[in-house]
Symmetry: C2
Subunit: 719 residues, 2 copies
């Protein structure tokens, strides 16, 4: 490996001149150059000799490090001399390499391979005598780079005005993206050319509970495709976003160029930095096959191993929830009349006039417990169990919940005792209403309550504008909050399933109890306006690249006019596609989101949800194209059982599963769930066939997925 | 009393027409009218028939209640229809009266008298069908009024854009003021005409560690004087600033008008309100004598009685501190080299290179304990005991202190054991560096540590810009923080002496463990640039109106060239004036701020500090003129001992104390501390005479105070 690297340097010196440093990937397919042009740092990237990224600028702009206090006018003319984007000379160069295999606590595979060559260039800005390091890691699936700020005399504290890391593509490309926003990722995915993004952008930005849009910019990760005879799939993302704002990507549509745009706080600052410090990694994953991009573990590899000393409490869980019925409006989170004006510590909730639709009541919860227990689930989420929901949203109310006081009709002790007697653990719900300061005041008491009653997982939520009011969901302070919560939960051996938080970028390697973050449109949006039928075929290429999401699949009763005659809302998939999502969408804390009454009508199909695993020893992306279809096979943790899921977008599609991933010579029984011939996600979503078949590694089965349909297969060795 | 009130109504109806409501003070000297003019609320105020306040507008401007999220442009055209300042009709009027005597836990007198007549006018805004109440309380020393927002269908949540409570004076007046600022009150007092404020304002705004100035506005309380044959002294302030921003006063210099200006958060919002809610009281204290204004307890009366169930742990304390030597630069808070870049939880402080000047070291602290114990003190403050001081300031660093980890040379157990063995309690120091979010995360652990080692008082500090970064020191969130800390400290039976926090406005009635708040230039400023010699003669008329301040008197070595040859800094008083401050400046947690070595040279003068009380059964303001002089006599709690303090400004001044406040027929021994004949605050500050004299209530003694000098008398009954 050293030899290859040395060769790369020589090659680079020939082509790029003595100022350039070159680096190759372990397999030699990727090559990148770093160079200074008139003191400005640039890098580029080639794959199999083809330019993927043209010479692209690096650097940061800063505020003067002592001018922390900003008024509305924050930029000062003298700030420019503090920028870290020019006047550099190279003073050192270090190379390193790693080829390690590590085991995620919960993961898509038993082993993740972290294999890269590294180049770290130390740059000195002569005029200020400050050093920064630009560190590149070239993997067999692409490039990661970041800035490092060593502690030094002239660089101890600073405030970032902007990180200007450019990715300059040579050509236009197809792109899958959502609009950039400091507070929400809950947007409909768009499929356009890079060059078409500005034209589409205004139409792509629909209303959201809390939003701060960045015009013409898109969210990270963004998925790209160079079309043609030899297509290339490119994923642009970031990794290890810790003590730093999340980034977005400004789009230069004329030049096919992306540029980092960090989330600001309300006074325009984009990171308060104390050295030694490192930025998140900017990542560019490249592969000739879409499946390889989806399979990349680069974002996880770029995070640090966990420092947790005990991860034994972290376990895969399948759960049900008193939830979907609130989402669709059949029952309510609140106990009192809607929009009552309540105050914790003042209002006597037992004296409120009940609205009669409170979901989290003893009777209903016991019914859910019974059904979940009968069907082998481990957990049951209950939302709306705690006081404060009457006016929880939209008032910038800080003390909105205390996370410890149940509504009068929720007997926390009785219900936990009842659940435990049946092998079910209740899953806690902590909606913060965006009031993070308030949540931090209550976490100890709230987690102590969880420990007392035996809850080991919590779903957190951040709906609405953040408090502190100067922060956004994705600004540095709030990101620190999310991982502070992870650490605090770890103290109490609690798993966290976070909603409305920042998208994960591989941090579950470091914080393995931080199971997932929502940060995209989940199933709930089917009740709020709908997800496009291709939605689930894009998410694994974008939102999922850095970690799981609580998508909450499993809706059998997709048409909401079942509950509310005339209601036009519906979940835009067939029933079978809902099954397939359990395999396609990795989530170790996986929900069966529909109501027991709906499952009871389709216990044969429900069997797949009962059988499917939530944590895996192996994963094979059999076939995938963003926006079109995904076929995924996974091997359940610690077993010889496999599960296959296939989904398609708004187009019907045939796919033949080649079972060659199975052990040779072994016999398996496959239980197959497929769309009925007459199935249709709009007109007849609940039509399906189920049959069993003996298969081997030589078997092939053709599936006819209807529009927004799919198939699911449960495979067990024949004993 | 009812009769008088009824008479007042009739009188008012005659003069002001049927739309006006009149109210008189219990003694009949004050009279005010409320009326609507074209739907806009107005009030006025007369004293002995003379107009003190002309018809002055009332009202608030609001943001639309659901538009909580603000961008840089927050005002929307449609907001104006949500304003609560026009279109009103009167729908109800309630009158009430109270004459109660209550006992402060710690106070200037044993009994505070709360005696007022009340008028509450309910107004309905027809266009929006919203009711507000304007409540007036007329005391024998002036007027308080506030807005009340009852919970109602159309008024549940709103955000204040501004409160526009005007005070329209008929004439120009002399005024004592400091510049308005959202983050600091540490300014030099100015004495100008009201009309001259704008001209003086720019010169009055010097640099501060954290400041957000409001041009041409002044801080509350402001002291005013109508000069002439029959002068009137007027104090404009506020009371009970809770869950609301602190207010400043915009100055209309042409019309001699003041108007409320609330502290905004960084997005321009001035209070997030949920009904039912009340604003702070706007107060106008009026008296023909300055002494009566200073003696007013109106701000305390306008606060609610405490809900604390146990106040037995709250006690007056005289303390010394390892402090002044850091302030002047003789020793340091930090243990490591200055401006080291440290991280809590990462930096090994035992391996830092010591700077050699760390004040809070075992040897020095023991010396202070010895001296404090020998001289009858109860407490010893030690600043700089905990890790993190190396880079605590100016970097917007959130995790700057943990409040539980001592420096390597501070043995917390040993020192507390040593202190307790000598009857001394150590006083805890929690500098937050303005990082309130971080402090809230640590308070439980920090107060548990205090309980463990027997600390019962903490000095808190908020130097520098606030975190949350969207907040100011005096914005609503931060004010809620200060009283949240008071309540949290009460849980642990801890007294709080707060610094750099918002000025108190009588809240110690409700939070009696919140002993004091700094919020003005204290003695420390003598080392940072100096206080004018008249500073202490203005503070009791302004900053002190609503509660105590840790002024830290008792500097005997006033010239700093004693420590640093050539150093021009000096405390701008004589030594005797320092003694007098113990009586003039009420503070139940009272410091003797100088170094033991300096007291040892003047043990005769130090005897006054040893003798003087910190809590009182009675107080007589014998004579006072803002900016000129104050002579105060106080009777020590639970004893027959009296103490008298007299101070003068930059002018020498004679004053004859008439001891008629003493019990008739009793004999007392007075120990008298007076400026030496040759004393001078610049040239000879340490010259003093001490003598004893037997006195009775018929005695009179003349004192010749030199410029910035004073006198102090300790009086005990002869047994």
């Amino acid at each position: 490996m050293k030899k290859i690297t040395a060769g790369a340097i020589m090659l680079s010196m020939m082509f790029a001149g003595v100022n350039a440093q070159s680096l190759k990937s372990p397999d030699g397919k990727f090559e990148m150059d770093f160079q200074l042009k008139q003191g400005v740092p640039y890098y580029n990237l080639k794959y199999n000799g083809k330019t993927i990224v043209e010479d692209s600028k690096l650097g940061l702009r800063l505020f003067k490090d002592t001018s922390i206090k900003f008024a509305s006018e924050i930029a000062k003319p003298e700030d420019v001399k503090f920028d870290l984007n020019n006047g550099f000379t190279k003073v050192d160069e270090k190379r390193d390499a790693k080829n390690e295999t590590w085991q995620p606590v919960l993961g898509e595979k038993k082993n993740y391979i972290n294999h890269y060559n590294e180049l770290a260039v130390t740059l000195n800005q002569t005029s200020t005598d400050r050093n920064i390091v630009v560190k590149f890691r070239l993997f067999n699936d692409g490039l990661g780079f970041r800035y490092e700020f060593p502690q030094q005399k002239n660089l101890n504290y600073f405030v970032i005005r902007e990180e200007d890391s450019e990715i300059d593509f040579p050509t236009d490309m197809k792109s899958w993206w959502i609009v950039a926003d400091y507070d929400s990722q809950e947007y409909q995915y768009q499929e356009t050319k890079l060059s078409e993004i500005p034209a589409r952008w205004p139409k792509a930005a629909d209303a959201n509970a809390s939003q701060t849009l960045i015009k013409n910019a898109v969210q990270s990760p963004v998925m790209l495709k160079q079309e043609g005879k030899e297509p290339l799939y490119i994923n642009v993302a970031e990794a290890a976003v810790l003590d730093y704002p999340a980034s977005h990507l400004e789009v230069d549509a004329q030049n096919f160029k992306l540029k980092t745009h960090l989330t600001a706080d309300r006074q325009g600052a984009k990171g308060y930095i104390q050295t030694p410090s490192v930025t998140p990694w900017r990542t560019i994953i490249v592969a000739p096959k879409a499946e390889e991009v989806m399979d990349s573990k680069m974002l996880f590899n770029l995070n640090e191993p966990t420092k947790y000393t005990d991860t034994s409490y972290i376990h895969p869980t399948k759960y049900m929830g008193v939830w979907w019925e609130m989402i669709i409006g059949k029952s309510q989170w609140a106990y009192g009349q809607p929009e009552s004006n309540v105050r914790l510590g003042v209002t006597d909730f037992s004296k409120l006039i009940p609205n009669g639709k409170h979901g989290a009541n003893n009777t209903k919860v016991k019914e859910y417990i019974d059904f979940a227990a009968e069907n082998g689930f481990q957990g049951l989420l209950i939302e709306g169990w705690n006081v404060g929901w009457e006016d929880w949203f939209g008032h910038s109310k800080e003390f909105v919940f205390d996370f410890i006081t149940p509504y009068p009709d929720f007997d926390i002790k009785m219900l936990n005792d009842y659940a435990h007697s049946k092998g079910i653990k209740l899953i806690m719900h902590h909606e913060t209403s965006g009031s993070a300061t308030n949540y931090e005041r209550w976490t100890d008491k709230a987690y102590q309550l969880m420990n007392k009653y035996g809850y080991d997982a919590v779903k957190t939520g951040y709906v609405g504008d953040m408090i502190p009011r100067g922060e956004h969901h994705y600004s540095q302070w709030t990101i620190n909050h999310f991982y502070r919560i992870a650490e605090k939960a770890n103290e109490y051996k609690i798993m966290v399933n976070s909603h409305e938080s920042v998208r994960p970028t591989g941090e579950s390697r470091t914080y393995p109890n931080y199971i997932s973050a929502e940060a995209a449109r989940g199933t709930e949006y089917e009740a709020f306006g709908g997800n496009n039928p291709d939605h689930q075929t894009i998410l694994p290429f974008t939102r999922w690249m850095g970690g799981s999401m609580d998508y909450t699949p499993g809706i059998f009763q997709t048409k909401l006019d079942y509950y509310f005659p005339g209601d036009k809302r519906f979940v835009k998939t067939t029933l079978v596609k809902q099954l397939a999502l359990y395999v396609v969408m990795y989530m170790p804390l996986q929900m069966a989101a529909d109501l027991p009454e709906n499952y009871k009508k389709h216990m044969d199909a429900f069997q797949f949800i009962k059988d499917v695993a939530a944590d895996w020893d192996d994963t094979k992306i059999l076939s995938a194209e963003p926006g079109d279809y995904i076929i995924t096979a996974r091997k359940a943790k610690g077993t010889e059982n496999w599960f296959v899921g296939g989904i398609t977008d708004e187009n019907k599609r045939d796919y033949t599963v080649d079972f060659s991933f199975l052990d040779k010579g072994k016999k398996y029984e496959a239980t197959i769930y497929e769309d009925g011939k007459d199935a249709d996600y709009i007109n007849n979503p609940q039509s399906y066939n189920i049959y069993k078949k003996e298969i081997t590694s030589k078997s092939k089965i053709n599936f006819k997925m209807v529009r927004s349909g799919g198939f699911a297969i449960s495979i067990k060795p024949v004993k």
